[in-house]
Symmetry: D2
Subunit: 319 residues, 4 copies
């Protein structure tokens, strides 16, 4: 596949890692999941992100999972590999191996102990020295989970200091003004063009697009919605974008529960027949019967507007 | 007004503290805000909460603000006073003074350094010793902002150890299973009946009611919506409750941005003619022109379903 | 007393706040404590610091305590008042009132939620706007307890932006290189002269002096030791300074236990006959019989070198 | 080597991981370091601890390093392997592989996001399920660095629920009362006998032994001191233990600077001729010329009492 560039746009799905009920990696479901993302029209997939239970995999498994996605995606989609690690040796190993296997780029999140602006910029400088400056990379800005706060100025410095940084995964919260600030930097010439894809479960995608985002990078179980909202917004069809977004918002909101959201997403993807099991590796949240019923109710309500949410109980995912 | 009991239910608005543009307290707007909450049908109002910029007031101001709400509410609504403080002397002073002035109860949040279960239960034991066990009080459970995590078992212990604890302000996130767990404790007899009102900006009110909440306690700028959803849900009109809730959800979601939400709420309340200025005391977030336009757009969309959101530019709030 | 300037040097004791066993403020012990600090030769006293249980006092009490120290110290010593607060209104009230009563300056610590360099510098800018730029103030840099990390560059910016900032209370840990960096800034002309007094319980005072500190500001129960080490170090008597310091180090180390150190200090000050009770206000740590015996043993060992540690059981502190 | 049991006592050195200047692992220095620990009389060595820069190694390196220590130690000392990891798969891989290679046991620290008592006990339950209950393991209690706070009751529950837990690495701060509490549990029969070795850089070893610790597990660059203090204390020679301890305390204190301590220790071990380079892998602290001179001065002062600190500049470590 082609390497990631600062022109990347559209929808990159954040992929969960499918497991069998016993905790083993389910490679067949990885294939099905990859095909699913390609079929609905994703531009790329980000694997081994926070949603992907990456820390629960050992080093060999991480490489196997990422490589499987890469091979299956082929030329259809770009695969970005989350390589965040507690040390640069591990980060480098995974980054080099998966890029060699054909990945389009890697994503790096900061360790949670960084505080000052200098600590943050210093960390990414060392990280890129470690993995090599020939690998296109995505900066993940996610204070709610990572506890590291980037000002727009710090993001600019990181990007300007590292030519191989091509994308920001934006999920500060609140974050709308940050997008405006960064696009303002581009206009005043102090920041080179940068792809900005937004996360936060899609909860603010409607306005993030209007503020200048290039697309979505998140794990909502209906990537079709992300794709449509991104497209409608780029076409200038504001009301249509919001109408569709609002129909899904109750479910988007429901998925966006820290720690619990993955269980909901795996439940829906399993219900859609994409992954064979909704199991997570330990330690992981489970989904109660009450929560399943709530999701089912939300799906039925979404389906009144968007037929794609009209799911039949899955029959044969694992067959 | 009557004292707060474990039978409290319905909607308690979390009130912002109105300031003039120069940062002085706007007592006339406190009166108008109190009247507004009473007119739309709130059962009570919580003042000096996190939303209320309480830490920015000095001790004398805090008492003045709370007392003003209490006096204006009279017998129409119950006023709960946030008395969280860095020390018990300050907490006691404010609690005793405002209860003497007629408040219905007080609300206490934990300091952010508490970690173990014993530290948490020990803190509340000492707090109640300090303020006196004759004051009905509300336990605030808000990990996202306060960094203190309560298990359902710890909440039960606090409640069972303190007969004057009558209510939980529930805003764990995610929190649906916690409501179910607490109601389960009541069923198995290990927890006495407890009023549970939910916060989190109302973002999960639809399902929180279905899980057993008694009502809402949050600062959404349209308390009418909270009141209606609580009522419809209690009447068993599930679809109607969700239909109305979903119409407001895009705005509820927009308000629920940490640090920025208060600016949105003050903007809307100002636009509704309730408070004379949307100013916050320093340090405080401001609302940009872009954000105002987004809120206006959201209001116009809500108004298609709920005419109460059809706001004219305010004309005369401060006259 | 004279106002604090950037030429301040020597030893400023951090004073505990004496309480009676029932938690009431013990004003007689404040007088005795003030006299004690003056008699042993302290240049100043810092009151209402973290050690001073400041958050446990209500606003009126805080002013009373600080004023009592100020009045008693008269022209003998400079009193610095800790005015850190959760809001600027409270900070301003205490700062103005105690400066009017004759305090030499105030000390400000940052709130623990500050992260980025801009948040930190912005906070102090607003704080000084709030209290007025005519009050000499001390910047407290204490990451271990306050969770806010200042780079030397950020300290420089705060100092250069605020002419009324005259002193750094340095207690970063580790912090030796930070002193060297700041003194280096002074040498290269990018930082104006600044008084640097060091905290951390005195644990690194020996080397902090050698790195360029102007003195000590901490609460070790033998301020005589701090005074002597500061003096010996300034006289260039390196070995003598270390010899004396090392004799006290086992006790300095013992006091420097987070949360527990205050109990040790109050125990020793009570034993020395300075304060009438070692009680802390709730919530506070107590000192066990085992710990008391350990402190007594350490005192007896210090006394082999420094006779001032040869304490008789106190007889009449409160008489 | 024999498996670790609850009878373990004495001194277990926490080993740094030696690197060449270019960041490659220095296996020859591992051998020399192992021999050194054996020669001075350590009972065991803990490798891949926090001090050991474990997160900077990739999975293969971690296994190689631990195995090298194990092989070299042979029957002379017990090797404990730090297996803390962000996921159980990685933890299990390293634990099984190193135990197969002959390690005596493993050490597990909690991830920093654990808050409630239930989260903590649940984590260790799952960890032991993952690695297998046939591996003797050490519980690391280190709130200052790990942000997880264990009450004595929680430690007891973990120990009583997991028969393979044989040791506590105690480095709560303050922690003396915790040792007393745990020994009290043993006396009242609610806790089975448990080996308690203490860390915190040795800063409180003198009194920790008197409170009931079985020995030391820390990385002070003179393990001889730890060994002697543990021995003297067990022999009841209190004054002698303190005299020796106090002579080293200025250096112990100097080493105990978060983030900077490792640089000091590697500097001293290099100076002692044990490791060939004081290099750390990135990101790592360096030691300035000023700090080296301070350490040299401290060594010269220790050497007045303890000749073993009389170091000549190393000549031939790497030869």
């Amino acid at each position: 596949m082609t390497k990631l560039t600062a022109k990347a746009a559209g929808t990159f799905a954040i992929a969960p890692t499918p497991f069998h009920d016993d905790g083993k990696i389910d490679f067949a479901s990885i294939d099905r999941l990859t095909d699913f993302y390609a079929e609905v029209g994703c531009n790329g997939v980000t694997v081994l992100g926070i949603l992907g239970e990456a820390p629960k995999l050992d080093a060999a498994e991480a490489e196997q999972v990422a490589t499987r996605f890469v091979k299956r995606a082929g030329k259809n989609m770009q695969i970005i590999v989350g390589v965040s690690a507690s040390g640069f040796a591990t980060m480098r190993s995974l980054a080099r191996a998966t890029m060699d296997a054909g990945a389009a780029g890697v994503m790096i999140a900061p360790p949670s102990n960084l505080r000052t602006d200098d600590q943050i910029t210093g960390y990414f400088k060392q990280a890129i020295e470690a993995i090599g400056d020939d690998i296109p990379w995505v900066l993940q800005d996610y204070p709610l989970t990572l506890s590291v706060v980037f000002t727009p100025q710090v993001i600019r410095k990181i990007v300007m200091d590292s030519p191989s940084c091509v994308m920001l995964k934006h999920e500060d919260w609140p974050g709308l003004e940050k997008i405006s600030a960064l696009r303002g930097f581009e206009k005043d010439g102090s920041l080179r063009p940068l792809s900005i894809l937004t996360g936060n479960g899609g909860l603010f995608l409607d306005f993030e697009m209007e503020r200048g985002a290039d697309g979505a990078m998140t794990g909502y179980a209906f990537p079709e919605l992300l794709i449509d909202v991104v497209r409608l917004s780029k076409e200038g069809k504001r009301d249509a974008a919001h109408d569709l977004f609002d129909a899904h918002l109750p479910l988007i909101r429901y998925e966006q529960q820290p720690g619990a959201g993955l269980a909901v997403r795996k439940y829906v993807l399993n219900k859609r027949g994409v992954i064979a099991s909704s199991a997570q590796r330990k330690p992981g949240a489970t989904i109660t019967a009450a929560a399943k019923a709530e999701v089912d109710y939300l799906l039925s309500r979404v389906a009144r507007v968007d037929k794609r949410a009209n799911l039949q109980p899955q029959a044969s995912a694992a067959e």
